[in-house]
Symmetry: C2
Subunit: 430 residues, 2 copies
């Protein structure tokens, strides 16, 4: 990985999410040698990740191999690996496999992870949703809960297996709770002999005063009513104070529940700490106007890891369109830098806010133009399918959705995993 | 799970593969209470499992939840669980979770597992392919080998990462080797910067004199030539004598290879041993003409676990059509038994033999009518897609195939797993 003075400058991009990938693609014609480093071999369309967790889509439906996306961009090398620390002065990044990558420019776009607000012990009981592996783990957990309830002889135990809680009333929590209620009420209908899946309790728990706090209050109310119509019990204004193997505590009330899903907190990637620059409360890097790091003009941060203040509005939100815009802006900053031109400040272009709730229900807020219900859902579906990378994925995803909504079925209800690596599969039937 | 004399007799079916599921469905109208027990929640279309392993299909494309398939058959209860031993006299089956299921009639259809011919230590280095978890494990291993080769600085190490061996020249071995060569030659084209995936060595190793030994010699020759055209090196007549972390030994030659796949031996499910009846060399139960177990007329065995001799031909092969026929025959035997009629002997109806080799190549033998090449491949495709359970799967599978063959791409090239259960996903990018 040595860089001789004659070769073009080396840009290292950490993270093949929206920010990293969009920056990389925008630099296709620039005189740079680019290395794109990611822990996984694929770019993930994260806005539909909850659909993999709830068995509506297969993992490959919403992911594409980074190598494949970038195969024709000859100035890029994709590398599978995990960065563990960054030395911005020595311009080196250490990887988990012991190797070291040098760089002339660095774009750190490694995203966010779950935050348990100082209760890391909750992680084992309330998994979150960030990667495809998380989604398959969650799918397994949700589907197995109904299986355990069916096999269970003790009524109290059975009730606990049929008690689901989603912690966090943001878009992910709302999507998960709405879809989970749909599965219990419709998808699993007629499939069990000892339990009635429709009797499952699906609770959405939000410590703040309302769900979808980033939306206008009117749409929060609509979302709550749509959730309740789907069969979700919405609890706001009371924080979760404990989560263990048997259930969770909401204020003073202990609720037996075998399945708790975490959709409450995101924290920036721990990699940011190794930069040695001030971070905000959520662990994000407060970047300069051109998205470079204070004191290290050759290091940029984009995506969920960047804390960008705006003079004329709230901070830039951690959503896919913002990450793409930041990625493209870093590319523009770098091009300007290489050409000796001054850098421009990043300006976030807000296209509006949309969240889906469940079968045929969503809310949309585009600069004060508000929609909810079926029409909002069609708007949401069109926007998301349109932005899915790659023609094939889009078509298959559309078909899977059409099928799921037409038939109330979810095609991917296959429990995977649970076998330890290297262990032979034994007497797996048929 | 108690059975009072007033209720209908209880049939316990172990295994939701072709034999168990076809028997269960054929008993929809019989006065029986049926429990279908399986370790996984889905029926698997095993003939296409190699496509999941080689990233052509998603796991849910070839699987359907057993509960969903049987939701309208009211005399069936599906139970997720693993049988560990059978007491045919006490009419009880013990499960891994400690519970015990009683039965009046038992159908044991728990299938086959990998056999390493007394070399169980090879299992860790040469995984086999029986379940969806096996397939995802294999997919991960195959795709990661190219990643490791790309990241590797040492030429000898790199060569070992690009050296693949498939042990066993039966249909599964031939399919895997052919598809692997296709991936190396075509799918990964242009995606790597340091290695040429087309330089990978893909070797199919068969101890016997020819591949596809169950086919006429003429078709074995055709298959070999088609494999070689796809870039597979075919070695016959020499046994593998060792497999370790660094490679395998073929006769006297040690070949460094990081990826060895086991497609050589299948052995019957260990559950058969607990029956206490004589087993054949492969661990299968030699059944009576009506597929019941000698000395235990209320216990039946069907599918890969049953050794059925034929007066007028070779033993019944371990293929899907045979398993379905056996399943239906057990249902007929039971119906006769319940009606007080005599049982009829099982007669295998041989529809012919087909095997696919890779892109547009296959061999077909239907009662002496022989086909090979493109036409055989279309025949094979039509037969397999037609038999896939469920309309939705069939359509999606067809689309995925059309896309894969049109574009040389494989849609499911997503590396999953590798994260231990309960471990948070950390700084998963994007």
């Amino acid at each position: 990985m040595d860089h001789t003075p004659a070769s073009p400058p080396h840009l290292l991009v950490i993270g093949g999410g929206f920010a990293g990938l969009w920056a990389t693609r925008a630099l296709a014609k620039s005189p740079l040698r680019i290395t794109l480093l990611d822990r996984s071999n694929h770019h993930l369309f994260q806005p539909l990740l909850y659909q993999v967790a709830t068995a509506g889509l297969s993992a490959p439906d919403i992911a594409a191999p980074l190598r494949h996306i970038l195969r024709r961009q000859r100035n890029v090398e994709v590398r599978l690996g995990e960065a563990t620390s960054i030395d911005p002065t020595a311009r080196q990044v250490a990887l988990a496999d012991g190797s070291v990558l040098g760089f002339d420019y660095l774009l750190l776009a490694s995203g966010a992870t779950h935050a348990y607000f100082g209760h890391d012990e909750w992680a084992a009981h309330a998994p979150g949703l960030k990667s495809l592996d998380d989604a398959l783990h969650l799918r397994r957990k949700l589907l197995l809960a109904f299986e355990r309830a069916e096999a269970c002889e003790d009524p109290a135990e059975r009730t606990a297996w049929l008690s689901f809680a989603v912690v966090g009333g943001g878009p992910t929590g709302v999507e998960l709770a709405g879809t989970l209620a749909e599965i219990a009420r419709h998808t699993l209908k007629d499939e069990f002999r000892r339990i009635d899946p429709a009797s499952a309790r699906v609770r959405l728990v939000e410590a703040g005063p309302r769900v979808l706090a980033s939306f206008p209050e009117e749409l929060s109310d609509k979302a709550r009513r749509q959730l309740e119509r789907l069969g979700v019990e919405v609890s706001t204004g009371v924080p979760v104070t404990a989560i263990d193997d048997g259930g969770y505590r909401l204020g003073e009330e202990y609720v037996p529940a075998r399945t708790v899903v975490w959709a409450a907190g995101v924290a920036a990637s721990p990699l940011a700490r190794s930069l040695g620059v001030p971070l905000d409360r959520a662990g994000r890097v407060s970047v300069e106007a051109d998205l470079s790091v204070p004191g290290h003009p050759h290091v940029f941060v984009a995506g969920d890891l960047a804390a960008v203040q705006r003079a004329d509005g709230p901070p830039v939100p951690g959503v896919a369109p913002a990450a793409k815009q930041m990625g493209r802006h870093v590319a523009a900053s770098l091009r300007a830098r290489l050409a000796g031109a001054p850098a421009r400040p990043f300006r976030y272009r807000d296209f509006g806010n949309l969240a889906t709730i469940g079968r045929m229900a969503a809310v949309v807020d585009v600069h004060g133009f508000k929609l909810s219900g079926l029409l909002a859902w069609w708007f949401w579906l069109a926007a998301h399918v349109f932005f899915l990378i790659g023609f094939r994925n889009r078509l298959v995803v559309l078909l899977n959705w059409a099928w799921a909504y037409w038939s109330y079925q979810r095609a991917a209800r296959i429990i995977l995993g649970g076998r330890r690596e290297g262990e032979p599969s034994g007497d797996a039937p048929g």
